[in-house]
């Protein structure tokens, strides 16, 4: 399709038809501020922060939902839209706890960034504000609806991306707020705790519990890695402080997961430093030192050893069984947590080294 040419802030921008003004601007490196819009989510048009002035339109239009057309002339920073943004921010702050000093999101909060950028204080439209209890019912996500700006990013991530539909908007008007399941605790909802809602929340309303109090964004080193849980290979960005993982995010540039993860990838990183974690191979006492293998004797105890010894013991055992009962008495089960290459090698080991076709894979079960 023919490209569409439009002008944004005096700069000529070429884009594909059907794209929004927001997308066109983003492609051209022009930032239009937004709270409810997110590149990975369908547009919502709710926050009214991304309002821009478009020639020929009576009122300012949200850039996230306004589609481009040839010859469009867009102003993203006219006095009118800047004033509108300020008012929206003032109104949002008028029903916000303003506890940035101790808020978990300080430094990674879009509302905070915009209030700073537009020099908006929280005291212009004093009035009643919400006092919701904080929901800590589940092990992964803390929900503080007092900090929620009802942008519905979480609703869209849960419904449009994951199809779980655990989050929706309850009540209306000033009392409209996010809720889970049948508006009960998150723990009792269909939530799978994938944390996609946490990933897209622009404020401190949805926070990963494991990271609370562990470090500010500027104290954290971000390390890209591939998730070690399964063979999908999601790209993660680990948040590391003092050589300890305090959090994980899906990387938006991950070719496999495009920013989304499951509960394990996002929240299951505490095993790394867990005291119960095995970091060395272990062998039963009797296999190394002989003696009885009775379960109630010392021969049954685990003994830490090195890899060569452990593999030697395992190989010896397999050889004995094959010699005594034949190769088909051995079966091999591979894992989806292993790489393709590792599974291929396991297949070689089973068929060519051991000599059996008894090989299967956990993903088939």
């Amino acid at each position: 399709m023919a490209a569409v040419s439009l002008k944004i802030d005096g700069k000529t921008v070429e884009t594909a038809p059907g794209r929004s003004v927001m997308q066109a601007a983003r492609d051209a490196g022009i930032g239009i501020p937004a709270l409810c819009d997110h590149p990975a989510l369908p547009p919502e048009g709710a926050c009214r922060i991304c309002l821009v002035e478009i020639e020929g339109q009576r009122a300012p239009q949200p850039a996230c939902t306004f589609q481009v057309s040839a010859g469009l002339v867009v102003q993203t920073r006219s006095p009118h839209v800047v004033a509108a943004r300020k008012l929206v921010l003032e109104l949002l702050l008028s029903d916000h706890p303003l506890d940035c000093l101790t808020c978990e999101s300080t430094g990674s909060c879009l509302l905070q960034d915009l209030a700073y950028e537009y020099d908006v204080k929280g005291d212009r439209w004093r009035g009643r504000h919400h006092d919701y209890p904080v929901d800590s019912s589940n092990p992964f996500i803390q929900v503080d609806r007092n900090k929620c700006i009802v942008c519905r990013r979480c609703v869209r991530a849960c419904n449009s991306i994951n199809g779980v539909e655990a989050i929706s908007i309850f009540h209306r008007g000033f009392n409209a707020s996010i809720g889970f399941g049948a508006d009960g605790p998150m723990q009792d909802s269909p939530c799978e705790f994938c944390g996609s809602c946490v990933a897209v929340c622009p404020t401190g309303a949805l926070r990963p519990k494991l990271a609370i109090g562990k470090g500010r964004p500027w104290q954290v080193k971000k390390v890209d890695t591939i998730c070690s849980y399964c063979g999908v290979g999601c790209k993660l960005t680990l948040h590391v402080r003092d050589n300890r993982i305090i959090g994980a995010d899906g990387a938006w540039d991950g070719p496999v997961n495009r920013g989304w993860t499951c509960v394990k990838g996002r929240f299951g990183h505490d095993y790394v430093r867990h005291p119960d974690r095995l970091t060395k191979p272990r062998v039963r006492h009797y296999l190394l030192h002989g003696g009885k293998k009775r379960r109630d004797g010392t021969g049954w105890d685990w003994v830490e050893t090195d890899w060569d010894t452990a593999l030697e013991v395992a190989a010896r055992g397999l050889c004995q069984i094959r010699g005594k009962y034949g190769a088909d008495s051995i079966g091999v089960l591979c894992s989806a947590k292993c790489l393709n290459e590792e599974n291929y090698l396991m297949n070689k080991l089973a068929r060519q080294v051991i000599g059996t076709n008894n090989i299967d894979h956990c993903a088939r079960l």
Partner: protein
Amino acid sequence: MKSDSLSTTSSFEPVLTRNIHRPGSEKIETYLGNGGYRAARRALERTPAEIIQLIKDSGLRGRGGAGFPAGVKWEFMPRDASQKYLAVNTDEGEPGTFKDREIVERDPHQVIEGALIAAYAVGAGRAFVYIRGEFFLGVKRWTKAIADAYEHGFLGKNILKSGFDLEMSVHRGAGAYICGEETAMLESLEGKPGNPRLKPPYPAQAGLFGLPTLVHNIETLACIPHIIERGPDWFAGIGTAQSKGPKIFSVSGHVNRPGNYELPLGVTLREIIYTHAGGVRDGRRLKAVIPGGASTPIMTAMQIDVPMAFETLRAAGSELGTGAVIVMDETTCMVEVARRLTRFFSHESCGRCVPCRIGSVRLYEALERVERGQGEIPDIDRILELAHGIGGITFCPMGTALVNPARSAIKCFRNEFEDHVRKGHCVVSRRAFRGGPDGKDSHRR
């Protein structure tokens, strides 16, 4: 009724409401006995394109508030779509408006006939009636009327042997004001929360369940049989340059005879109030009028010679809206009016966009402070600033309408707001503040 000799509308003969005072007016027998469904019969013999042209020629504009030309809307409906819908908007929620309710309760077949003609013209095979949950009698009458229309062959398969099919059913809403907005109504019909949709796409492109949908107000549909019956020239001969036809004005407030009055568009407020509604109660002086329902800007008594038409009211700084005339006499506190109307809108906000969700509450609170006498003079300008800021930046038109009461009340009656601030109480109604601490009105008069 007093002599209408001074009236410019003395020769006008009501059509939409001509049957409603007959006993048993809601029955199909009464309707048929008065020439009912003759227009439908006539329309089904003509082509849909001819019907659309008739409606265009008549100049009929939507009676739900926006005043969009009906014929143009019909033309927007795609011709090649295999399945199309008609949605009949009976969610009459605009405060002060009670015209659709009366038509539905007393002459529902008029609307069914209009709906049948409209559905035939745009090729819609399924009609959904969305009715406000509180209209208990209306639901009963609609349901009965639809059943009777099926029985007489005006609904169902092969209507009047024309080969045209139309199924119709009634869906009760839960009473949210915003569900009168067409896209919110469609969401609600689909079983979702009544939040307005993003436009475009417009309902004619992708409406109910994603299919092309024609949405019409009750009064608009009620006009259609008469246009078919009497011709577009008759209809276009009534009214002003840009506002054609008869219109039902719901008159409420401080008048001697509140009620629905069917009059030609272009009639003045003065005539509606003094000739038809019996003048202001207790011989008091008129103070202010809301000409088109709560969302339209307040006008002063000085402006009552403005003709009630889309273009003239807009030029006068207000809107025709639904044509609901709310009359206020000299004992009315305009600060209280602004506060209570703003409270209504903040209560009815769907909560989707920030300016409406939070702004309406802040507006209400500021008005409440001024009314209680706790405000300061700059607060009045702050109210205007907030109202000005919210107007035009909300997701749907309701957010913009919600600032009208406050903005127009200050524009027309600023001195009353200042009196509240300076004297700490109301000098007009001589009453103490009547709102409760939780923002609810503690009692009604």
